[in-house]
Every structure is written in structure tokens, then in C-alpha cells.
């Protein structure tokens, strides 16, 4: 990890988003104190926590595969963090039992306290792991790929549930995910990581509308990249000119990024691009066309209203809505870090 600086506000729900190997789990483990950074500082509430041990940091950590204690019941798992406290700060047996009972209620698993982890479903285990980490009243809650091992439906339910829990207890929460939908749906702010560096930090809207780099743009949602050439402020795709503000860009090769939703079939005579209709399917609201853009080796799918212009094999003009341009082969630091907190 290099030059990572991140400011997380109290009560915030933050997602660390990135492909595998981007360093997101490492960053989470550094916050927890499970990994020690070679350099750098970790602050909790303005207090230097770099040299605090894992135990002293009092973080709630939910592991990817839950790491429940197999030989302990659900109730004993949840109560573990209280039972191992030094004698003078340890709650009484009864207080522990009450707290466990309350947490079982929070995770909606009342009555399952006597079960063993092996007797639970994946989603239930996940919730037990969460309750176990909440039992110690952590200062921050850290979740490593919390929904990674679950099937799609359970994942969706749990996501909504986690969001609600966060609202209820208001605990500062950081979770790691490689799933951009998950990050966008759940988090107040998303930290996009690649290759051990922060690419951008921002709200889901900011990431989607104002991506700071081609990486963020193509990682957050689908994107098409057209190879273009910048020439004195004019942007050329082949011999066609694309109307986009290229102010401040050096002459030379660049790429124009746009989302599939930002391109549409337009009236004859208009449009910046042209393409051939490869296939056409009727959908509920209109139709979906697969179009091969002239001079571009990939096809793209466009949802469009019904028009007569598009028939199979015909050529249609395409107009580009919102698009962004980034220079090709630029040194990395050209579009390093945007957004706040860095």
C-alpha cells in the first residue's frame, strides 16, 4: 500500500471498493491492528492508535468466513469478548447473559443461542459474527467482504438489514467489498482502491457522476472507451468530431468514456457517431439494440424507445450524451486522488 490517507467521520458507513489485490483488505486489517504498516499512522478519534495492540484498539471485526468458534454455542460465541475481559472489568455472568440475549434479539436469532455454528445457515452465521463483534461495544466496526460467501437473495436481505442496524446504533463502520453495487447501495462514502492506492473517495453520486480516473469510471458501472485523438482542442474519432470539452488536454491520443445509457439512436442526419444494428429485441418499454459502432471493435447494447429508423442491419446515427475524456498513457499522478478527506 502506498500513500494512503483516509479520513473517516464518526458514525459514517464507508465502503472500501476495489478489485482483488487492490489492498482493501490490507487497509482494513491495518485499521484493526491485525497487520502492522511499515510506515504510517492510524488515529482513532484523534488519538494515535498505531502502537495499540489489537486488543487495546477495541474494534469489532467481522471476518470474511465469519471465523466463529466452532466448539462454542452461538450464545458463548457472542459472549466470548465479555468473558475474556480481565476480572475487574468483566461483567457478571448474569449481565453477560442479558447482553447476549439482547444481541440475539438484534440479530433476530432469539432461541438459537444453544445451537452450534455448524447448525446455522450462512446468513445466520454472518449475523452471529456481527453480534459477537458488537458485544464488546467497539469504537469502530470493520467488515471484510461481509456478504461474499452468501447467495444472491440472502445477500440482498442482509444488506438492507445491515443498513438498518447501522442506522439504529450509529457506529462508525468500514466494510470491504469488490462488488460495486454493494458499495453504492450501502455506503455513505466509497473509497475506490487500485494497486494499493486510493483512486477516489466520494459519495456514490460523486463517483458515478464525477469519476476521477478511467479506473474509477470503468470500475463503477459499465463504461465504453472510444479511442480518440485530441488536436488543438478538437476531439476526433476517426474522421468524425466528437463534441466534448477537451480544454487543458495535451494534443495526442486520448479516450472518451461514456456509459451505455449515455448514447442513443437519434434522428437521421444528426449524431456524432454511426453504427450498424446487429440485433434487435423487443423489451417491455421499448427495444434493445446491439450496435456495432463504425471504427470500434466492440458492440454495445442500447435501450431505446421504439423508432422505425432502426431495423436489423440498417445504419443508424448515434448521439452521445454525457461523456468524459481522459488522456491515454498519462503518468499516473495526472489524475491522482480527487474528492475530500485526502
Amino acid at each position: 500500500m502506498r500513500d494512503v490517507s483516509l479520513d473517516i467521520r464518526p458514525g459514517e458507513l464507508v465502503a472500501l471498493l476495489g478489485p482483488s489485490g487492490s489492498g482493501k483488505t490490507t487497509l482494513l486489517r491495518v485499521i484493526a491492528g491485525l497487520n502492522t504498516p511499515d510506515r504510517g499512522v492510524v488515529y482513532f478519534d484523534g488519538e494515535d492508535a498505531t502502537h495499540l495492540s489489537v486488543q487495546e484498539r477495541r474494534v469489532g471485526f467481522v471476518f470474511q468466513n465469519y471465523a466463529l468458534f466452532k466448539h462454542l454455542t452461538v450464545a458463548d460465541n457472542i459472549g466470548f469478548g465479555l468473558k475474556v475481559r480481565p476480572r475487574r472489568s468483566r461483567p457478571s455472568k448474569q449481565e453477560i447473559a442479558e447482553r447476549v440475549h439482547k444481541l440475539l434479539g438484534l440479530i433476530q436469532l432469539e432461541g438459537l443461542g444453544d445451537r452450534y455454528p455448524a447448525q446455522l445457515s450462512g446468513g445466520q452465521r454472518q449475523r452471529v459474527a456481527l453480534a459477537r463483534s458488537l458485544a464488546i461495544e467497539p469504537r469502530v466496526l470493520l467488515l471484510d467482504e461481509p456478504f461474499g460467501a452468501l447467495d444472491a437473495r440472502v445477500r440482498k436481505d442482509l444488506r438492507r438489514w445491515l443498513r438498518e442496524i447501522h442506522k439504529q446504533i450509529g457506529l462508525t463502520t468500514v466494510f470491504v467489498t469488490h462488488d460495486q453495487d454493494e458499495a453504492m447501495e450501502l455506503a455513505d462514502r466509497v473509497v475506490v482502491l487500485d494497486n494499493g492506492r486510493i483512486e477516489q473517495v466520494g459519495t456514490p453520486e460523486e463517483l458515478y457522476d464525477r469519476p476521477a480516473s478511467p479506473f474509477v469510471l470503468s470500475f463503477v458501472g459499465e463504461a465504453v472507451a472510444l479511442p480518440v485523438v485530441v488536436d488543438h482542442g478538437h476531439v476526433k474519432f476517426g474522421d468524425r468530431e466528437i463534441h466534448i470539452n477537451a480544454a487543458g488536454l495535451r494534443d495526442g491520443p486520448a479516450r472518451v468514456f461514456f456509459r451505455p445509457a449515455d448514447i442513443a439512436i437519434t434522428a437521421k442526419g444528426g449524431g456524432e457517431l454511426e453504427g450498424r444494428v446487429e440485433s434487435l429485441r423487443r423489451t417491455a418499454g421499448g427495444m434493445r439494440a446491439t450496435i456495432a459502432i463504425d471504427g470500434y471493435d466492440q458492440t454495445l447494447e442500447i435501450d431505446s424507445a421504439l423508432t422505425d429508423a432502426a431495423t436489423l442491419g440498417s445504419r443508424v446515427p448515434l448521439s452521445l450524451g454525457h461523456a468524459r475524456i481522459f488522456p491515454t498513457e498519462t503518468p499516473d499522478d495526472e489524475f491522482k486522488e480527487a474528492g475530500e478527506g485526502i
Partner: protein, 290 residues
């Protein structure tokens, strides 16, 4: 019609299964082999021990030398087994949970006693601690007797039996990884609490199993102990050595009576092991067999 029937039976049988005749032949071969080479000798031990009746059998244990041998065997096992329990836990913990330079060397060293002849292991101790050995003069000067005495027997036994516990634990601990330990640490548990409440419960059956095997070998070891013991009656003879002496003196009943004690111990160990495997099949599933 017959085609269909043939097709169906071919589906019902897995491709790796052989024809009934082959199966029966293979099973029979294994059973006969076991009967000749293992069951028959075991039966002979007990038959020979009781060949002159129970009174003679009991008389063999009344012998002071026999009692001394039994006592010594128990003492040796009582030292060697706990020593290897601690060593095995420490070694497998460090191998499974940390990475450090020389780790693969350590793993190979742990297996060494399995690949070296026990007699050679015994000889090594003689060369080290014997009066003509490397440390001999110093030991003599300080009046410490290791070879031909109980300390030498204990050392040789520890050497021969030290892989048992570690070999049981390493694969299991490696498979389990250290994520549960990490979880315990984030929950505020100290290192010792983590070991006691998380690591130990996760390996307890494999540990018990390793201890059982280690104990059986500690009590039954002959080669290494024979070299360092000096065969002093009533002093440095363990049960296996005493059996050999009695046998060489044509005292068959006494020899086989003592031997039956060891055989009985082996049977009890085997029974316990089978029981543990049956009872805790899941927990033991992760480990390698010898």
C-alpha cells in the same frame, strides 16, 4: 431386453468398483495376510503366557525384576509423553501459525526420528553422553550418569517418540489457519486466553490421539532404549528389555506374561483410537495418517 438390463447394472455400479470375484479375492487376501502376520502372533503371546495356568502367569509379575521393569517403563512414559506433548504443541503452533526462515528444515527435523533406525538414535546418545563420548569427560567430572541410567533411557525415548504429537497437529492446525485466533484477539482476548479457549479446543482430539500413539511407542520402544540402557536388572530394564532377557533365558511363561502386558496396552490404545475416530470423525478428518 438383455441389453437394457446390462446397461442398468453398469450404471448402478461405479466405474472404480471391480467385479465381485475380484473384490472377494482382494478382501480375502488382506484378511489372510492380517491373520497370519498379526492376529496369530498376538494369539500366541496370550496362549504362551497362560500355557501353565493363571498362577504361573501371576507369578511372573511377582518377580522384583519384572516389577522394577514395569515401574521404569511407567516412569519413562510419564516423562517422555508430557515432554513431547509440550514440544509437539509448540512446534506445530509455530509451524502452522507463523512463517519464518528454516520452517521446512524444522518440519523435516521433526520427521527425522521416523526415518532413522532407533538403534542409530540410541548410538548417537552413547556417542554424545557416554564416558568415551563428546560430553563424557565433563559428565564424569560432575558425577552425572546419563548412559546406562534412567536419564539416557528417557532421552532416547523422547527422541524416538517426538514426531507423534507434532505430526498429528501440524496438518490440522495448518488447515484451520489462524483466523479464529485473530477473531479472539480482536475481541480482546490475551494470547494465553486465545490458546486456552480457541486453539486448544480446536485440536484437542488430534492432540489426544497423538498422545495415545506417543504413549504406546514410549512404552514399547526397544531399539534405542536397548543401546543406552546397559541392561542392568532391576535398574535399567524397561518391559521390552526385560522380555528379551527372560526369553533368552528360556523363561517362556514369564517372557510372554510381560509381553502380554505390552500387547494388552497396544490393544487398549487401538480400541481407544478407534473409539475416538468413530466419535469425532469430523474433527479428525483434516489430518494426515501415518
Amino acid at each position: 431386453m438383455s441389453n437394457v438390463a446390462a446397461g442398468r447394472s453398469a450404471i448402478a455400479r461405479k466405474v472404480t468398483e471391480e467385479a465381485p470375484a475380484t473384490r472377494i479375492a482382494l478382501i480375502l487376501l488382506a484378511v489372510v495376510f492380517l491373520a497370519i502376520f498379526i492376529l496369530a502372533p498376538l494369539g500366541v503371546v496370550f496362549a504362551e503366557a497362560f500355557s501353565r495356568g493363571a498362577a504361573e502367569f501371576a507369578a511372573a509379575f511377582a518377580e522384583p525384576d519384572a516389577q522394577a521393569a514395569i515401574r521404569l517403563t511407567l516412569i519413562v512414559a510419564a516423562i517422555a509423553v508430557p515432554a513431547n506433548l509440550i514440544f509437539g504443541l509448540a512446534a506445530s503452533w509455530s509451524i502452522a501459525k507463523f512463517s519464518f526462515p528454516g520452517k521446512s528444515v524444522l518440519i523435516t527435523l521433526i520427521d527425522l526420528p521416523f526415518s532413522v533406525s532407533p538403534v542409530v538414535s540410541g548410538l548417537v546418545y552413547v556417542l554424545l553422553f557416554g564416558s568415551q563420548g563428546l560430553l563424557g569427560p565433563w559428565l564424569v567430572a560432575h558425577n552425572i550418569q546419563i548412559i546406562f541410567a534412567v536419564p539416557g533411557i528417557v532421552l532416547a525415548t523422547i527422541f524416538v517418540t517426538f514426531p507423534f504429537v507434532a505430526r498429528e497437529l501440524i496438518p490440522l492446525m495448518q488447515e484451520q489457519g489462524s483466523v479464529e485466533e485473530e477473531a479472539a484477539l480482536t475481541l480482546g482476548a490475551s494470547g494465553w486466553d486465545t490458546f486456552l479457549h480457541v486453539t486448544l479446543p480446536n485440536v484437542k482430539w488430534a492432540l489426544l490421539y497423538g498422545v495415545l500413539l506417543c504413549n504406546a511407542r514410549a512404552m514399547g520402544e526397544f531399539g534405542a532404549v536397548s543401546v543406552v540402557s546397559g541392561h542392568i536388572r532391576g535398574l535399567t530394564n524397561t518391559i521390552p528389555l526385560q522380555v528379551e532377557i527372560l526369553y533368552n533365558e528360556y523363561n517362556m511363561v514369564a517372557a510372554f506374561a510381560l509381553a502380554s502386558l505390552l500387547a494388552g496396552l497396544a490393544l487398549v490404545t487401538l480400541g481407544l483410537k478407534t473409539f475416538l475416530e468413530w466419535r469425532h470423525a469430523d474433527a479428525l478428518a483434516g489430518r494426515r495418517r501415518h
